[in-house]
């Protein structure tokens, strides 16, 4: 076999380093952010970052149109993005695996109903659901989490369903059932643990996509209303000032791509470690 330029270990290591650093920033936001992300300083509007001509270390990444410190807004924004991405993922995993387990284990009508529903659901983009919900209820963190979580369950249903069907026939499952174990016990103790590695890879990659969707919704104005410091909001505000202050939009974009790329590297690397034969192709 030829040596790969970029093996799974490198990917996982690099991805983990980036993700860990950004999660640390998010958790430590109150202590490491140099300024209050909402404090306006109209004397210091649209200051460029430190590497530009008029930049200074007071505002390392510059300031926005209201003189708010960009670095602090990005650090606080990472909190919301990571929190929304993770919670929505947990919601999607819970709904999706429960339905998939039930459909695969019970079969028959339940299987038909769940799987046809999953097929139909797959055709509906999450942005449409978000548009309906936000049009009626308005934006906000709980709305965002519910919309993204409910939009993304069907991947897990499909995977869990297929795995349940094949695992059900295994001798240890039949043995457990023959010994009088209840169905719920078998699902929880025998089926789910077997699926955990595969599901966690999918979940890792999904968090990245959820964060992208959250920033897109915020950017459209369907996420968290301004002045909330989210990456999508910072980018949307920066878009209005592209001529005079392009760094606002671009630094927010860099923050998003860095985190999502880290998550994607981690997820892809984990997948290759889990299934080296497939990844070798």
């Amino acid at each position: 076999m030829r040596r790969r330029l970029f093996g799974p270990n490198v990917k996982v290591g690099l991805g983990l380093a980036v993700v860990a650093a950004m999660v640390a920033c998010a958790v430590l936001a109150p202590w490491i952010a140099p300024h209050d992300p909402y404090a306006q300083d109209l004397m210091a509007r649209l200051r460029p970052p430190v590497w530009a001509d008029r930049g200074s270390w007071v505002h390392p990444l510059g300031t926005d149109n209201f003189g708010r410190d960009l670095l602090s807004r990005l650090i606080w924004g990472s909190r919301l993005s990571i929190m929304v991405g993770l919670t929505a993922m947990v919601l999607a995993v819970s709904i999706g695996t429960t339905l998939g387990l039930l459909a695969g284990y019970l079969g028959g009508r339940v299987e038909q109903l769940v799987m046809r529903f999953a097929d139909a659901w797959q055709a509906i983009p999450e942005i449409l659901l978000a548009i309906v919900v936000v049009a009626v209820f308005g934006g906000g963190v709980p709305v965002l989490i519910l919309v993204l979580g409910f939009a993304g369950w069907e991947v897990y249903t499909r995977v869990t369903f297929n795995l349940t069907r094949s695992l059900r026939e295994r001798p240890y499952v039949e043995a457990a059932l023959a010994a009088g174990a209840r169905s719920s016990y078998v699902m929880w103790r025998h089926l789910l643990p077997q699926m955990a590695p595969v599901l966690s890879v999918i979940a890792t990659l999904q968090v990245g996509q959820l964060i992208l969707q959250e920033t897109a919704l915020s950017f459209l104005g369907l996420g968290l209303p301004p002045p909330t410091a989210t990456w999508g909001n910072v980018l949307a505000e920066g878009r209005e000032r592209l001529w005079v202050a392009p760094w606002i939009a671009n630094l927010a974009g860099c923050a998003i791509i860095l985190l999502v790329l880290g998550i994607n590297l981690l997820g892809n690397g984990l997948r290759e470690m889990l299934d080296p034969k497939r990844a070798e192709r």
């Binding site: 983009p125 309906v132 049009a135 897109a216 950017f219 459209l220 920066g238 878009r239 671009n250 999502v260």
Partner: protein
């Protein structure tokens, strides 16, 4: 024929889900009248709408009449545009379809070419570069890519317009943005599908029979690798329409997506619902088309 019939029966399901979802969300808030009319409605208007929406009927009856209205194309009247909501949306549909068709075509052609190249040069520099680019593309927020393109080609170089839909030049940046949003998945799936096919026995047989590498690629590998790529088109339709909403907003492209986003801020609920319905319908019909194409090129599917 059996396959076609079976497939046609699946068409209404996603639409029914969308309509039910819209209905539930509207009724969950308690009073749809307030949502439809906004704050400065007169009591007479409210009474009129209340009767029109049959809010005093039991819920299942309300749902049926809601469904009946939609089937007749009656989505209510746009508050902002003072015209039937469906008409307002239909006027914007060609712009969206144009953008979506252009974006999908470019993504498909470039993605398949890139995927084939990556597979042929597997584990060498071209593969590494293409795969790295694809993974980076998957991590890129498409609205930021659009903004970067505006900065470079419209503001710095002044070659292309920043927004709008006038001549063919104004379509370049939106098309590029939308295509780039879909491109990475096409590269990666094509690459995997080609590599998969290249391991098949029949290919080794063909090569042993003396079939040259170019002919083997075009006659044996690509036809078999095509199937997963066509499936991906179907799976990507939802993302495609979602990406169109974002792209239209970035470039002020006058399509359904931008109309819906604007309608949310104007509290123009009939337009939002008509837009959501039209987008869902587009996805469902396009999905049907993809499945029929797939059945046409792969007998294993239609004979199953």
């Amino acid at each position: 024929m059996g396959y076609l019939l079976h497939r046609l029966l699946l068409v209404p399901a996603p639409l029914l889900i969308v309509i039910t979802f819209v209905f539930v969300v509207l009724r969950l808030t308690g009073d749809p009248v307030a949502i439809y009319l906004g704050q400065d409605a007169t009591p007479e208007q409210e009474a009129l709408l209340r009767a029109e929406l049959r809010l005093d009927d039991p819920l299942p009856m309300q749902f049926l009449s809601f469904l009946g209205d939609l089937l007749q194309g009656d989505f209510g009247t746009s508050i902002q545009h003072r015209a039937p909501a469906m008409q307002v949306v239909a006027e914007r549909l060609p712009a969206t379809l144009e953008l979506v068709a252009l974006g999908l075509t470019f993504a498909l052609v470039l993605g398949v070419l890139g995927g084939i190249a990556a597979a042929l040069w597997r584990d060498r520099l071209p593969d590494f570069l293409l795969t790295a680019l694809a993974v980076t593309g998957q991590s890129m927020p498409s609205f930021w890519l659009g903004i970067l393109l505006i900065q470079l080609f419209a503001l710095e170089l002044d070659w292309l317009p920043t927004s709008g839909r006038e001549d063919w030049q104004s379509a370049i940046l939106p098309t590029a943005t939308l295509a780039a949003f879909l491109l990475p998945n096409f590269v990666l799936v094509t690459r995997a599908a080609v590599l998969e096919t290249m391991r098949e026995q029949f290919l080794a047989t063909a090569r042993a029979r003396g079939v040259g590498p170019v002919r083997a690629l075009f006659r044996h590998v690509l036809p078999n690798a095509l199937n997963p790529v066509v499936s991906l088109v179907g799976l990507q339709l939802g993302r495609l329409m979602g990406g169109a909403v974002v792209t239209e907003t970035v470039f002020a492209w006058p399509g359904v997506g931008r109309l819906m986003v604007a309608a949310i801020f104007q509290r123009d609920v009939p337009v939002v619902i008509a837009g959501v319905f039209i987008v869902a319908l587009t996805i469902v019909l396009a999905n049907l088309l993809v499945d029929l194409v797939q059945a046409a090129i792969d007998p294993r599917i239609r004979l199953r």
